[in-house]
Symmetry: C2
Subunit: 403 residues, 2 copies
């Protein structure tokens, strides 16, 4: 059971979360609880570090920020004890949660479960501080963005847990963003692959890293709310999904920028000369489209990048103008990516046609297309994003689909 | 170098403390820095624990509260690095600072200095989180009241440090409380024994526990302010004090209560029947005076206790009235203890006479007397405490004494 920052934001919420743990333990299950820092605490600690030193040593950053989860772990253990549940806190270094030495975004190498196994044998709930591990140099590491989700999934995998329940502030995963489409329906079951596409396209419920980890280790996830009794959404292997839906959901990302390089002489190595320098400065690139001029002598290259990266991308391309040898450089900061996701589309042709027809009907111009086995993404003007999501949700009949 | 909570209360103060460390390191010294939690942080964390659970598991209490020093240690290391000083943080479990398993008030058993020695060999400043250690069960312990001072002194002893500098918010140790006697003079050197008496009698600069530890291990202490350039007070062995002053200082404690049991039949075991039950409920007892009635058949027993303990002491004595068999029980909550301290009084008679004469001259009645080799304490009515301190400070010429 993993509780995020809003689920442990104050002592009342910690008590409410502890009550859910108590019920699971009372049902006879061995329970490991992974906790985040209390909402706002990590930001406070990061703020102290950043104000203290702009170019900070990430080892000290980790020492400072890991304190947030340490506090919650102790408080959660106390809240459980008060309810008569035998519980103790475990810090990353006590288990240990062995990671590499890449501070600030460490990767888990191994979780030693022997001490925890003894803990469970003694009928005790293990309260584990999320987000943190131990480096080969015996120092505290943190796991970076989505760290506590990753802790929970990795621990579930190491323990061979029947399920990893991620408690958050939403009821589960929806067919699309309910703020845009009020008729959006909560999904009862979704495959890891579909969830990964949803997560990578802006459905903020789970971090892609933890979904990928769950997929690779076959960990059954449940996403549910700390504040309701809704059973949430199960994220499982495809083998557990009896009847695949053709389309599971519509995801979108409004924070995209489109960059186009025009008039590049067509010769081998163009892509490498463009994307090499961008990779070197860690600009994320997505949806690359290359097109040739009518006479075949020149090509143009279009790609998307998160809007936050666009200034750095433009500067990098300007700096490399000579080596790339383009004629013009264009930036459109007002584009959105809208995607249709569904494992069933592998065996059902026609999904793409429905998408294109729906967008055309609404007069929405498609500026780019990218596809995977279970996803079709289109790039459109940002102002049409919400209209596109609503129309597609309707076109695939998602609000009426059976569970 | 140990910095208390007010010396690391915010990032500016941490930077100022780091600058002092930088100067010591630049002078070629190997420096270990022990830090407390930022002022107010330990209270915040203790508040969370106490609100979470009234009868809390002290192991979890320690896990939560130790986070405060962890944060400061990381921030101090970062502040030093920003100044170009090679530094790293060390948590109690990393060194390790081995303690017993008495959580909340653990005692240090051993400090393994091998990793720190390597740290110094590499020219690095070690920033050590105070107040915390590691239990035999591999869990975080905290050292209780005055914990960070104790950490610093114990570490200085283990490292064989030339000096342990305790940075606080006062300039050093004074001949008496400057709020009462504005002419009070800062003491340049004082022996451990004298300091121990000063500390136990209300001079709040150092905790008795750390002074006792320093005395037992011959650690040279320096008490000085983070906020001035005053060199502070050196607390050293008597062998380092060339010319002992007869009287070093006047200490007082205004928070005393006097309890008297009247009319106890004089037979063996009276004291045990009185003080046994008080010890069992952890009432602190000081200045015991037994006096006999004129006919020798009855005795009365008077003792002092911190005012905070007086209600518990009275209730315990009432509960044990039958076994003690006293006639009357009297409480005076308005007494003060005023003490004259000086290692030189061992070899100079007449110090007590001066004290008694001075108090008599001011019409102050002495309700009890206790002496040690280097201290004479008198119990007087609380309303006379300030007058007594001022008169004695004057009588022993403390404001004019040479350094």
């Amino acid at each position: 059971m993993k509780f995020g920052g809003t689920s442990v934001a104050d002592l009342d919420r910690i008590a409410a979360a502890a009550e859910r743990v108590r019920q699971e333990a009372a049902a006879g299950h061995a329970v490991a609880v992974v906790v985040s820092a209390m909402a706002g605490e990590t930001n406070r600690l990061v703020g102290l570090v950043e104000k203290c030193s702009s170019l900070y040593d990430t080892r000290e950053y980790d020492t400072v920020t890991a304190a947030g989860e340490q506090v919650t772990a102790g408080l959660m253990a106390l809240a459980l004890q008060r309810m008569g549940v035998d519980a103790r806190s475990w810090l990353g270094w006590q288990i240990p949660f062995l990671t590499d030495g890449v501070h600030g975004k460490a990767r888990i190498r191994d979780i030693d479960t022997r001490l925890l196994a003894r803990n469970f044998d003694e009928g005790r709930v293990a309260v584990v501080a999320g987000f943190q591990g131990l480096s080969p140099q015996n120092r505290i590491t943190t796991l970076g963005r989505g760290g506590s989700d990753t802790s929970a999934v990795a621990l579930a995998a190491a323990l061979g847990a029947a399920r990893c329940d991620i408690y958050t502030d939403v009821n589960g995963v929806y067919t699309t963003d309910p703020r845009i489409v009020p008729q959006a329906r909560k999904i009862d079951r979704i495959s890891h692959e579909e969830m990964l596409e949803m997560a990578s396209l802006g459905a903020k419920v789970l971090h892609t890293r933890s979904v990928g980890l769950a997929m690779n280790h076959g960990v059954r996830l449940r996403v549910l709310s700390s504040f309701t009794t809704d059973p949430g959404t199960l994220v499982v292997g495809e083998d557990e999904i009896l009847e695949e839906k053709i389309v599971t959901g519509i995801a979108y990302s409004a924070d995209e920028a489109k960059i186009t390089l025009v008039g590049i002489p067509d010769c081998p190595g163009v892509a490498a000369r463009i994307f090499g320098p961008l990779a070197a400065v860690a600009v994320n690139v997505d949806m690359i489209v290359q097109s040739a001029s009518p006479d075949g002598q020149f090509v143009s290259m279009t790609f998307t990048t998160p809007r936050a990266d666009s200034a750095l991308a433009m500067k990098t391309l300007e700096d490399n103008r000579e080596s790339i040898n383009y004629d013009k450089l264009l930036l459109d900061n007002k584009v959105a990516k809208v995607s249709v996701i569904g494992a069933g589309m592998r065996s059902h042709p026609g999904v793409a046609e429905t998408m294109f027809a729906t967008l055309a009907e609404k007069g929405i111009n498609i500026q780019g297309i990218a596809t995977s086995e279970i996803k079709i993404s289109t790039l459109i003007a940002a102002e049409y994003a919400e209209l596109a999501v609503r129309s597609l949700h309707d076109a695939y009949g998602l609000e009426t689909a059976a569970a």
